[in-house]
């Protein structure tokens, strides 16, 4: 019972982090039709930006997280406006562009900050305990912020005019444009939102795990897995799949170990995709 509760807490915590990452990834695919290979790069950049604001600029950590979110969002906006926008319908070109951006981001960080992990700690230490159960306070704060951010994204997408416009573009760009919506204005905003989410996740998560130039590598793989499992472009699907992956990862690692646990997760994903090839929330979000 102790192991089950512990695994559940870990799984929910992981799921919230994954959801925040996957939402950005699926937003970009759903609205722009672009697979953003630089997503992990924005995660790392968010971590390093927050680290710089805390250690070099001496700012308090919460402000550093806000600024890191803005920095990554602005960079994402400019990247979309100046580069992606020109080739937005060319899937191969955007793939290469985002992959190139990821390499530039990770190499730039490597050159600027060095390959070794800096000392970047979450400002709150300690662990909440109740008998055999525990939950690190830092994880609790991150979980709360992630859940708030997820609710914020939902409110933005489903309760605002901007969200309605973005969903309209995702549904049918030509019809939406004929109705007066301007993709050239809205696409950079969507890209900025997604990159800002990745940056915020990096700023929140790297101090509780570790910060190094390479830590974005698994982010892309995890985001991809979740978004495919949830259904490409589906915001609800990505959220559900993120928590599912987090929980399965936690249960399988606790009960089966790190090696078999990873295998169990991929076997489960494989089975789901065999049964539902378009993901859990299986509607074809976008024609290839």
């Amino acid at each position: 019972m102790t192991s089950f509760v512990t695994a559940t807490l870990i799984g929910v915590s992981l799921g919230a982090q994954y959801a925040l990452l996957a939402l950005g990834f699926t937003l970009i695919f759903g609205i722009l039709g672009v697979v953003n290979f630089a997503h992990g790069g924005f995660y790392v950049l968010g971590g390093y930006a927050a680290y710089w604001f805390v250690s070099a600029a001496g700012l308090p950590y919460p402000l550093a997280v806000v600024l890191a979110t803005l920095v990554t969002g602005i960079l994402g906006y400019l990247f979309e406006l100046l580069l992606i926008e020109r080739l937005v319908d060319d899937h191969l070109a955007t793939l290469m562009l985002t992959l190139g951006l990821y390499l530039m981001l990770s190499t730039g960080i490597l050159i600027t900050f060095g390959p070794e992990s800096p000392l970047f700690e979450f400002p709150l230490n300690g662990t909440l305990r109740a008998g055999p159960f525990y939950f690190p306070i830092a994880n609790l704060v991150v979980l709360a912020v992630c859940l708030l951010a997820i609710l914020g994204v939902y409110a933005l997408i489903f309760r605002t005019d901007l969200g309605r416009a973005l969903r309209a573009l995702a549904d049918d760009r030509q019809v939406a444009a004929a109705q007066g919506l301007r993709p050239r204005l809205l696409f950079p905003l969507a890209f900025a939102l997604a990159c800002g989410l990745a940056g915020m996740t990096g700023a929140l998560v790297t101090p509780i795990l570790s910060l190094a130039p390479h830590v974005g590598d698994p982010v892309l793989a995890t985001s991809f897995l979740i978004v495919i499992l949830g259904g490409l472009g589906s915001i609800g699907g990505a959220t559900v799949a993120a928590f599912l992956v987090g929980l399965v990862e936690a249960y399988s690692s606790v009960y089966l170990g790190g090696s078999k646990g990873a295998l169990a997760l991929f076997v489960l994903v494989l089975i789901i995709l065999v049964v539902r090839p378009s993901g859990l929330f299986g509607r074809i979000a976008r024609e290839a």
């Binding site: 102790t2 192991s3 512990t6 695994a7 870990i10 915590s13 992981l14 490597l110 390959p115 070794e116 992990s117 800096p118 000392l119 700690e121 230490n125 662990t127 305990r129 525990y134 690190p136 994880n139 795990l209 570790s210 190094a212 130039p213 390479h214 830590v215 590598d217 698994p218 990862e249 936690a250 690692s253 606790v254 170990g257 790190g258 090696s259 646990g261 990873a262």
Partner: protein, 392 residues
């Protein structure tokens, strides 16, 4: 205004001039390839290898060059990021071959060693690497040397000290589930078992970034000690941090590659380690501190943080001595033959031994005195010097 013909003639003249200079320089240049992870969680180890190769090259060049036959040759170093995997190391070895490199300093991990050996064998590269794989060196790879002993050499002595100091009776060894992890974990486990400490092995997928679930699994076993073995220092730091967050109060250890500073930094400071034992490549005494100062003077930067730097300095110097003794920088078989006959002696590290016959079947493993690190109740003790492992 100059015409196109003038520019073309100038360009041709420049190329001819360069071509005339190039053979003269290349004829007396000894190229070393520094191979190891220069990015990722194991970057500290690769940077140590690169720093050591560059330092020894700078030493030789400052002394007028490396004596090869009748010539004094300039030593140059080309570094390649092997990314701590086999394909990266294989790509590095192929790159070195294309650049005319004959001597490889590194790699540092078992996956890298696995990747580099076939290419080294095909191209007669002399490799001075460090890997804790059970087949890191062997009679089938006569040009592959080991810069320092694996855990078979030093793990029993450290387990003995850890058992006496902390009274541990059980241990969980955590390592990646590839050859780099499983080989060392099994050798460590055997060392624990022989000393009456019951080992259990716990593996994770390389690339894992969150170890909370694995920490929970380890705690459920309630071990007296957790040993992070050959997990990269970055991973080991997160494992330690999350074990402590989960309430683990036992002893931590590391019978694997060095990286205590990095582990402590990622984990949140030396206080988090509390009770910790580890293998240290060397004991940094006054002589080795002076070596750090010389590095600053010759290379113009701070020496690499990781102490793997030191044994690789000694190992690279052994290679340069062998080249000088063999009188060739191209015939690596002759250099290897010279290397085997050289006494293990270094002005900074003292005397050592050639070992490896018992474990690997070939006596091509350098062994210098090593250190045993201990933190007891949060207080670091001076690194204890231990005589060179004999491999028996």
């Amino acid at each position: 205004m100059r015409g196109p013909k003038t520019i073309r003639a100038g360009a041709i003249a420049a190329i001819v001039a360069l071509a005339a200079i190039a053979p003269a320089r290349a004829a007396c240049e000894v190229k070393f390839g520094a191979l190891g992870p220069l990015s990722g969680p194991a970057a500290q180890w690769g940077l140590a290898v690169k720093g050591a190769a560059e330092f020894v090259a700078a030493e030789e060049n400052a002394a007028g060059g490396l004596q090869v036959g009748q010539e004094k040759c300039r030593v140059t170093v080309t570094a390649f990021d092997a990314k701590y995997n086999a394909e990266g190391a294989a790509a590095g070895a192929n790159y070195f071959v294309s650049q005319g490199v004959r001597f490889v300093i590194g790699p540092v991990g078992s996956p890298e060693m696995t990747g580099v050996k076939p290419i080294a064998a095909r191209n007669n590269l002399l490799v001075m690497g460090d890997s804790f794989a059970k087949n890191a060196i062997g009679p089938q790879w006569p040009l592959v040397f080991h810069s320092g002993p694996g855990p078979s050499g030093w793990a029993p002595s450290i387990v003995d000290v850890a058992k006496q100091t902390y009274g541990i009776k059980s241990v969980v060894i955590v390592a990646p589930n590839d050859q780099g992890g499983t080989d060392i974990a099994s050798v460590d486990a055997e060392a624990y078992r022989r000393h009456g400490v019951e080992p259990a092995e716990e593996y994770y997928q390389r690339g894992t970034s969150n170890f909370a679930a694995i920490a929970a699994r380890i705690i459920a076993r309630n071990p007296d000690a957790v040993d992070t073995a050959s997990s990269p220092p970055g991973d080991a730091g997160v494992i330690v941090k999350q074990l402590r967050q989960a309430g683990y109060k036992g002893v931590l250890g590391r019978l694997g590659g060095s990286g205590t500073e990095e582990i402590a930094r990622v984990a949140g400071g030396m206080d988090v380690l509390q009770n910790f034992y580890w293998y240290e490549n060397v004991v940094v005494d006054e002589r080795l501190k002076a070596l750090g100062e010389r590095y600053r003077q010759l290379v113009g930067a701070e020496r690499p943080e990781n102490t793997l730097f030191y044994p690789f300095v000694a190992a690279t110097r052994m290679v340069t001595k062998a080249i000088a003794k063999a009188g060739t920088a191209t015939d690596t078989k002759a250099v290897a033959a010279a290397l085997r006959t050289l006494p293990v002696d270094d002005p900074d590290f003292g005397q050592g031994l050639w070992i490896g016959q018992d474990f690997y079947g070939i006596n091509q493993e350098l062994s210098f005195p090593f250190g045993i690190g201990l933190i007891v109740d949060g207080k670091p003790r001076p690194i204890a010097k231990h005589e060179a492992a004999t491999g028996k």
